[in-house]
Symmetry: C2
Subunit: 499 residues, 2 copies
C-alpha cells in the first residue's frame, strides 16, 4: 500500500464509520422522539448488530494495520490527518482491550437500561433500575481496568469526557467553586425573593413551538441543517456529519422558560457541531472536541447570553407577542425571574448559581461508587442526604432525586463534571471575546453574527483538531482559571439581588 492509497483509505474508513454512527444515532434519536413506545426491544436488537459491525470496522486488523502504517509515516501527513490517526489509534487500542462479546453485551445492557430507567423514573421505583445501574457501574469499572489498568477507573472515565481531567483536578476545581459559591448562595437566599410570576402560567405548546423556531433563527442556527423535535430529556445529536444536526426539547405548559432555555442550550451544542469546517465532515474530527468544551458552548448560549439583561430585553417583545398575558410585565421582570437563585431538586431546572452544586453531588457519588466505597443500593439515601446538606432541600421521591438524569442509564459516568467545567470555560471565553466584540450591543440588536463568528474562528471550526487543553490555551492565551466564572456569578447575583 502506498502512502497515497493509505491516506485515501483513512478517509474512506472514517466515512464508513460515520455511516454506522448515523444509523445508530438515528435509531437512538428516533427512540427518544417519535418511536411508538413498545419498540425498545426491537431497537436494542438492531443496535446490538450495528454496534458489533461498527466495532469490527473500527478495531479490525486491517484498520489497525492501516493506522499503524500511517502513524509510522506521520511526518508526511497533514495536521488534520495526524490528529485523525492519533485519535483513531487511541480509540482502537482502547477498544481492542475490551472483548467483543462484552462490548456487545454492554450495548444491549444500555438499551435495556434506557427503557427500564424510563419506567423506574415514571414509577419513582429505584429498586427496579438498581440491578441494571449496578451492572453499568461494574462494567465501566471493568472496562477502565481493561483499557488503562494503571489509572483509577474514575480517572479513566473523567478523561474520556474531558481529555486529561482527573479526580485531583476536579477536587481542586470544585473546592474553588464551593469556597465562593456557598456564601454567595447563602446571601442570595437570605435576600428578598425575586417575583417569578412572569414565567408561570399557561403557555400553549403550539406557541412555545413558535418561540423555539424564533430562538433557533435568532441565535443563528441554519434550519436547513438543524432540526427540532420533542422528547422527554432534551439532547442534541449529529447524524452522520455536522450537515445534519438535531436538537430536542420538552414543553411544560406551566412554564415556558424551561423549554426556552433548553432550546438555547441545545442550540449552543448545535452551533458548535455545525460550525466544524466542512472538510472535517465524515472524519473523527467532525464536531466538538470534548464534553467540557461542548458544555462551554451550550451553557454560554443558555446562560451567559440567554439570561443576560440584553437578551432578555430583546426576547421580551416576542414573548409578549406569543403570550399576551405577559403584557403586564417588563423585560426587567423577566430578566430577574430567569436569574432567580433558589436551591431546588432538579439539575436541569436549577438556576445558574446553584447548578454547580447539583453537579458536585453527582461527582461525589460517582467517585465513591467507582472507588467501591459506596454501593449502588445506597445511592438514593446518599443522594438525598447530600441534597439536604449542600442545597438544603428535602428530596420527596427518587423520581425527583437519584432517578432524574438519563446519564447513568446511558453509561455516561464521569460526564457530569463537564457541565461545571464547561460553564467555567464559558465565562473565561466571554472575558476574551469582550476584548474584540461588544457582546451586549450585539445582543441588544439581536445580531448574533459577531459572537458566532468569534466562536467559529476560535473554537468551532477546529472540530476535534486540537485537544481541549491545547484549544483553551490557543483561545485564551492563559491557563484556565475558575475565577472568571465565580466573578461572573457574583456579579450576576449582585445585579439581581443587590448582595
Amino acid at each position: 500500500m502506498t502512502l497515497t492509497e493509505a491516506r485515501a483509505e483513512l478517509k474512506a474508513r472514517q466515512a464508513r464509520m460515520a455511516a454506522y454512527e448515523h444509523a445508530m444515532g438515528l435509531i437512538y434519536y428516533d427512540g427518544a422522539t417519535g418511536a411508538p413506545k413498545g419498540t425498545a426491544d426491537n431497537r436494542a436488537q438492531s443496535l446490538a448488530v450495528l454496534s458489533e459491525e461498527s466495532y469490527k470496522l473500527a478495531t479490525g486488523d486491517e484498520t489497525v494495520e492501516l493506522l499503524e502504517y500511517l502513524d509510522a509515516n506521520k511526518d508526511e501527513l497533514d495536521e488534520s490527518e495526524r490528529r485523525q490517526v492519533y485519535l483513531l489509534l487511541k480509540d482502537v487500542r482502547s477498544m481492542r482491550k475490551i472483548p467483543m462479546d462484552e462490548f456487545v453485551a454492554y450495548q444491549r445492557l444500555l438499551a435495556e437500561a434506557d427503557a427500564v430507567w424510563h419506567e423506574a423514573k415514571e414509577k419513582s421505583d429505584f429498586p427496579l433500575f438498581e440491578p441494571l445501574l449496578k451492572q453499568i457501574f461494574d462494567t465501566n469499572i471493568r472496562f477502565a481496568g481493561y483499557i488503562e489498568p494503571s489509572k483509577k477507573p474514575y480517572d479513566y472515565w473523567l478523561g474520556e469526557y474531558e481529555d486529561g481531567l482527573t479526580m485531583e483536578t476536579c477536587d481542586k476545581f470544585f473546592a474553588a467553586l464551593r469556597e465562593r459559591l456557598v456564601p454567595l448562595i447563602e446571601r442570595a437566599v437570605a435576600a428578598p425573593p425575586v417575583d417569578e410570576s412572569v414565567i408561570n402560567g399557561c403557555f400553549p405548546t403550539a406557541k412555545q413551538e413558535e418561540l423555539s423556531v424564533w430562538l433557533m433563527k435568532t441565535m443563528g442556527l441554519d434550519l436547513d441543517h438543524v432540526g427540532l423535535a420533542t422528547t422527554e430529556h432534551p439532547f442534541t445529536t449529529s447524524l452522520g456529519s455536522h450537515f445534519d444536526e438535531r436538537i430536542t426539547t420538552h414543553y411544560h405548559e406551566e412554564d415556558f422558560s424551561m423549554s426556552m432555555f433548553s432550546v438555547i442550550h441545545e442550540g449552543g451544542h448545535a452551533l458548535y457541531d455545525t460550525g466544524s469546517a466542512d472538510e472535517l465532515a465524515y472524519t473523527v474530527l467532525d464536531g466538538g472536541v470534548s464534553m467540557g468544551v461542548h458544555e462551554s458552548q451550550s451553557r454560554f448560549y443558555e446562560n451567559i447570553l440567554g439570561r443576560s439583561r440584553a437578551f432578555c430585553a430583546l426576547a421580551f417583545p416576542k414573548l409578549v407577542e406569543l403570550f399576551p398575558q405577559l403584557g403586564k410585565y417588563t423585560a426587567e421582570d423577566f430578566y430577574r425571574a430567569v436569574n432567580r437563585v433558589r436551591p431546588s431538586l432538579i439539575r436541569t431546572e436549577a438556576d445558574e448559581v446553584t447548578y454547580c452544586l447539583h453537579v458536585m453531588i453527582r461527582y461525589e457519588l460517582e467517585r465513591r461508587v467507582m472507588a467501591g466505597e459506596l454501593d449502588v443500593h445506597d445511592l438514593p439515601g446518599e443522594w438525598n442526604r447530600l441534597y439536604k446538606e449542600y442545597l438544603g432541600v428535602d428530596v420527596p421521591d427518587d423520581r425527583n432525586g437519584v432517578l432524574q438524569d438519563s446519564h447513568w442509564s446511558g453509561g455516561s459516568i464521569g460526564y457530569f463534571p463537564s457541565y461545571a467545567l464547561g460553564s467555567a470555560y464559558g465565562a473565561q471565553f466571554l472575558a476574551k471575546m469582550r476584548e474584540t466584540v461588544d457582546v451586549d450591543a450585539c445582543l441588544s440588536r439581536g445580531d448574533f453574527a459577531p459572537i458566532n463568528e468569534w466562536n467559529r474562528e476560535n473554537i468551532w471550526k477546529y472540530g476535534s483538531l486540537y485537544a481541549p487543553d491545547k484549544l483553551l490555551e490557543r483561545v485564551l492565551g492563559a491557563p484556565f482559571d475558575p475565577k472568571y466564572y465565580l466573578d461572573y456569578l457574583e456579579a450576576k447575583v449582585r445585579d439581581v439581588y443587590g448582595v
Copy 2:
C-alpha cells in the same frame, strides 16, 4: 458446519440483515418526515455505505455457501426455513449478477433522484428530473438483463413486485377491467353529480390528527407498535421487524377525507405487516409477501371497509364531534361524497371506480419505455394524451401529471399494476370472508376484531411463507377472478348513482 449450526447461522444472518434494513429504512423514513430539508446529501452518503455493507452481507461467499448447504439439505428443514432459504438464494443469485459498483451507484442514483424529483415536482419541471429518470429506467432494464436475460425486462420487474406476474397476465387483467369499467364510468359521469360539500371546508390539522388516532385505534392497530408521522407522500414501513411499524399521512386542511382515507390505507398495510406471526420476526418471511397482496389489504381497509355505508355511519358522529360544521349533514351525505365517481388528475386522490384507469396509464407507459418503444423524454406528452383519452381530463402541468408519483424516482418500475391487482384480490377476499363473518354488522358496531381475525388467520400471520399465488389459492379455494371486483364496483355505483 453441522446442520444445527447452519440453521442457527441462517437465523443470525437474517437478524443482521434486518438491522441493516432497520437502519436504511429509518434513514429513509426520517428523510421523508422530520429531517431538515438540506440534509439529503448527507443521507445519501450514509445510505451508500450501508447498502454496500448490506449487499456484502447478503451476497458474500459465506452466505452463499451457507444457503447452498442448507438448500442441499432442505428435506431436513422446517417449512419456514425452506422458504427462507429459497427466497434468500433467489435474491442472492439475482444480486450477485449485478456488479457491486453498479448496485452502489444505483443506490446513490435513487437518493439523488428522490431529492431532484421533489424539486422538479415543486417547480413542475420535468426536464430537471428527466436525465435521472432515464438513468433509472436504463439501469432497471440493464439489471433485469443481468438477472434474467431470458425474460423481457418489464416481465422481470413485474414479477419482482408480484411473483409470477407478466405482461400477458396484466394485459388480460386490464382488458377485463376496461371492458366493464369504461361503460360504468360513463354511466356514473352522465348521472346527476353527488354533492361533495360535506368533505370540503376548513379542517384544522390538529383535529385531523385526532381523527387519525381514532381511526388507527378503531381499525385495531396497536399504537405501542405502530407510529404515525406526517410526510409529503404517505407510505408505510417496517423498521427492523413487524414490532416497529410506521405509517405516514399528509393533511389537507381543505378536505379531511384525503388524510382520513390515506390513514386507513396505510393502516391496512400496517395491519398486514404487524400481523406476521412473531416467530417470523428478523427473517425474510416477516411482513407481507408481495405488493399485490399488500395493496389488497390496504385498499380493502381504505375502500371496501372504509368507504362502506356501515363504516361511514360509524365514523360520522366522530367527524361531527371533531368538525362541528358537519352537523348539518348526514352520514349518508358523507357516504355518497366519498364514493363519488369523477375522473381526475391525481391517482392517490382518485375515486375507487376511476382508480384503475390511472394505474392502467402508468402500466402502459412503463411497458413501452421498458421495451424501448417510448423515450423517457416523451413521457409527459404521452401521459397527457392518455389522461385525455382514458379519463377525459386535460393535464395542466407536469406536477399534476407525470411528476405526481414518487415510485419512479424510487426505482419502483412495475409496481403500479399491484394496486389494481390488489384491489381486485380484496374484493374476492371479501366474498370469501362474508361466508363466515358478518362484515357490515362488525363495521356498524365498530368492531374490527372478527374482520382482522379472519385476515390474520388467512393472510397476515403467514408473512411471506407462501408465494402470492399459493396464498390466494389457500384463502380463496378458487382461482383469482377480477369479476368479483367488477361486480363490487358496479354494485357501488348502482347504490350511489342508481345507474
